[in-house]
Amino acid sequence: MFRRIVKHFGPEWGAAVMGTAAISITMQLSSEVARPFSALLYVGVGYYLLATLMFVVFLVPWTLRFFWYPQEVKRDLAHPVRGNFFPTMPISFILAGTGTNKLGPLLFGPQLAYTLGAVFFFVGAVGIFTFGFLLLRIQFLSKNISLEHANFAWFIPPVSHLIIPVLGACAMDVHWAETPLAPVLFIVSMIALGVGFFNFLFVGAAIWHRYIYASIPPGQLAPTIMVGIAPTAIIVVFLMKFAQALEAAQGTLYGIRFAATFSMIKLTASVLWGFSAWWLVVALILFVHYVKHVGHPVAFAWWAYTFPFEAFVVATGLLGQVVAPDFFHVMLETLNVAVVVVWAVVVFGTFRWLRSGAYFAAH
């Protein structure tokens, strides 16, 4: 049975870890707003522990599949939709590192937490870059990809690089600031930021083209529209953490002065947050359209509703620390409730999907 599970263990399972890990951060941010929410910090620890458990449990079959069923892996890599989900596991490393950075000190103290965070950073970055190159090569050289394959899951391989500098900036803050590791974290983060940002524009245009000039994706892929929220939300998170990293480096990192850049960081972050908020409405409009007119079947892809939305909520919480705190704090607490509801619905949906036998069905 275990071998059969491994054989069918698709590359997309990392999305469930991502969608669970990010709640730990939305909870942590929500806990900071006011005293009545303090317990949410520990609820965040609960989500962090659950995400860690899922991460370990999923990593085993995900890894074994490469050795036991390389042909299945190869077939998935070449799949114009499914292949894009391979980076979800390395992204999970980055999210595990981010969670460890924020909540690890509460469990096992700062030293171990920040060290683990740095380890996760490098493992995750290597995985994201590797799958990024590999999947781009496959996509460029494939003769079987057509306009109808384009969907926002295409963002995952190249644009997921944006998540790397989030953990990089977290790691540069405090513990690794002004150590020999700081320049490495900085360079890797900046390369990843460049890759992610420009691919967001390029790949986004390609997907936009399909949405305008061809039919929208089928119901099973309806949730992928939500992925579009993530890039700008993640850049907001990065900018906020980078501002703190600049601060931790005595206000100047390679001549990039905190005092000189902070106003621009706040302005840029506000604009990017606005784009994500707008996209959330677009996603809701399309969600309603799918439910009413196309069909919105239970699918593992429902997990695409979780992480991007949570990234937006994290961006909301962090932006509220520097701009219009009263407005953003209310939004944060409201959206945090929505995050939990969406996640719970997706968990139930996943069980329903599993019971349908879809796990072992051919994709």
């Binding site: 709640i23 909870m27 806990s31 900071e32 707003v33 005293r35 303090s38 317990a39 910090l41 520990y42 609820v43 965040g44 620890v45 609960g46 989500y47 522990l49 659950l50 950075n101 924020k102 909540l103 000190p105 509460l106 469990l107 096992f108 103290g109 700062p110 171990l112 803050d173 405090v174 002004e178 150590t179 703190q244 601060e247 931790a248 480096a249 005595q250 206000g251 001549g255 905190f258 005092a259 902070f262 079947p297 699918a299 509220g320 620390q321 520097v322 705190p325 704090h329 996640w343 968990v347 139930f348 996943t350 069980f351 329903r352 999907w353 019971r355 349908s356 036998g357 879809a358 069905a361």
Partner: protein, 207 residues
């Protein structure tokens, strides 16, 4: 995609267990003690209670409450001590200001250390109760004329620490250095003394 089946009771229970697990674990952990500073321990310094003049520059007066031995116990390992400050910023000017203070720890033989925001977050409630002041959640905040806002700063405490200063950077080009050294009180106990404060000009270059 195959046709979905409805959920059986066992599946509902399994899904429910996963959905509730983080809440059950989290709320159970919330009840555990993690901040072990003895209730009677007073702060080494509370400049709010001291006669002036208090350090003031460009309409911002800085006061602070300092706990040199704040113990925080993570859930899975033993406690560690932290240097914990709550800074009190008062706007002495006529117009509202936006403040984004930043603090750095400097000690002989130790690397410069930025404040640890995670530890500050974990101990926030306990410290607020102790100091009777509410920490600012935003890292940049508005202070109206004549009003005071409070901000928590925690530093990891190096072993064998004898002296240090904390650099408070809330202005452009100038910072306040708060110097502390360990000394013995008349009964022979070691205590931390704020022996002097100094203004320092910060380098504002072009590179």
């Amino acid at each position: 995609m195959e046709r979905s089946r409805s959920l059986g009771p066992a599946t509902v229970l399994a899904a429910l267990a996963i959905v509730l697990l983080p809440w059950v674990v989290g709320l159970s952990l919330f009840g555990l003690p993690n901040s072990d500073l003895p209730p009677a321990a007073p702060p080494a310094t509370d400049t709010r209670n001291q006669p002036g003049p208090h350090p003031t520059y460009k309409g911002v007066q800085v006061d602070w409450t300092f706990y040199p031995d704040w113990e925080f116990k993570p859930l899975l390992v033993g406690p560690a001590q932290y240097l914990v400050f709550m800074f009190h910023y008062t706007n002495t000017g006529r117009d509202p200001i936006y403040l984004m203070p930043s603090c750095t720890f400097v000690a002989p033989g130790e690397p410069r250390q930025a404040a640890n925001e995670e530890i500050a977050m974990y101990i926030e409630d306990a410290l607020e109760d102790r100091v009777d002041a509410k920490d600012q959640t935003p890292i940049t905040f508005r202070i109206l004329s004549g009003k005071q806002r409070h901000y928590i700063v925690a530093f990891e405490k190096p072993p064998g620490l004898e002296r240090f200063y904390v650099e408070v950077d809330a202005w452009q080009g100038r910072c306040l250095r708060i110097h502390y050294r360990k000394t013995a009180d008349p009964s022979g106990n070691s205590v931390w003394v704020n022996d002097h404060n100094a203004w320092a000009e910060a380098y504002l270059g072009r590179g």
